[in-house]
Symmetry: D2
């Protein structure tokens, strides 16, 4: 089971009034890593997502914070696929500081939704296969 790696640098505008990355922004970081992974799997989110027949909204997200991130830090987000079910999948994210120390652990649960009916539906087969392969299943 391998993880997908996304790296970025913390900039002035990413830091809040306490001088550290705001807790909500870790979820943005995680999602950037998720989109980067989808792209690398050949399943980039479509540009016309607002009109897509199938969407993958997040129904649950959580984060545990271990260490703060400051301006100028280089960070690394490791995304791994925890589970792929017929209608949903769960991702884990490990945010590491440049020295490898853990800054946060996050997870997101995504459900496939048919936008015509508003109801959960099966994941597209190719996406499920691509995620499953990454999960080592």
């Amino acid at each position: 089971m391998s993880s997908h790696v996304y790296e970025t640098t913390i900039r002035l505008q990413h830091v809040d009034g306490a001088g550290v990355v705001f807790f909500a922004r870790f979820f943005e970081l995680a999602h950037l890593a998720y989109e980067h992974m989808l792209e690398s799997l050949g399943h980039a989110l479509p540009a016309d997502l607002g009109r897509a027949a199938l969407i993958l909204p997040i129904v649950h997200a959580e984060s545990d914070y271990r260490a703060s991130l400051r301006m100028g830090e280089r960070v690394r987000v490791e995304v791994s696929v925890r589970a792929v079910k017929s209608r949903s999948f769960t991702l884990d994210y490990l945010v590491r500081k440049e020295d490898g120390a853990e800054a946060a652990q996050l997870s997101t649960v995504h459900v496939a939704v048919d936008t015509a009916t508003g109801k959960a539906t099966r994941l597209p087969e190719e996406l499920a296969a691509a995620l499953g392969q990454r999960a080592g299943m």
Copy 2:
């Protein structure tokens, strides 16, 4: 000629690594005040803006910064209509600190665009009239 007033409070997440509101965020503040004004004029931006037949994109924006804003500050944005033309309008914004001191002066130029052709078109009459009235024309 009267201005439309929008008030808000600067919070932890609105402040950057220098402890002050990031310069780009003043444009967000201005746009919040603009949307608030449109709503008060009965011309709120539609929820399905991505599919609207006519949009009002900003073609120019600028800001002069006088004083910084910090966490916890109550701020006031005064929006005034500088000009209304057949296909565009220009707004001015004055961002004031709680004691009335100027923090920034901004302006935005909006052009009516027909999304089918991608070309400039006439402002909707009612909107032009509502903005014109506010401009004191």
Copy 3:
């Protein structure tokens, strides 16, 4: 046990490429409601938080999403104090749409940290009392 209520309107810049409020932004909404509650309790976050002797970082945050929020919607965040311990407290947030329907449920766990030592410390007595009172304890 009463909840603290914070209300706001979803604007153009709060909505993402799928036409709905981005999942990470619900945590920003929750934090705005938290800061609003602290202020109403007379314990507003200090403007010089980056130099404060005691901070209250979030060590855990989570959210369950029930319904999406769109541009122009008026939303209501109800904050309640779930638990107050000697060195930490836990808050719950209910984000409701204008018709009262639940859009999301969130929670955050905050720990008091002495910035000189970097270690957990006792909550300031007055803050603990104020939160405890709100929790109905």
Copy 4:
């Protein structure tokens, strides 16, 4: 005279309710490119900017918008140094789409400020030299 190039990808959270990058976010893009350039010149913004003896606040910013940017687009920001004076400098930014088309042109004016006095002061010599060299002066 050469420009410094910064590249990035537009993601879900970078796009607003109209399906395009919000006008204020172009200033964030420009600043990311500016910080990237400073870093490449060996003058990265310090992590403790909130306590720095000298800061470089932006006193003027403006942008002209030519084309919209959508989710998934790869963009390129070209930063060039327009002018370096004793106490200030001006930067120009060209934001290009993947095919080279201009999406926006921006500029920012930065003034050196002594945080002890709150007054304009001389640019640090090394920074002035580094910027001047890039300006081809």
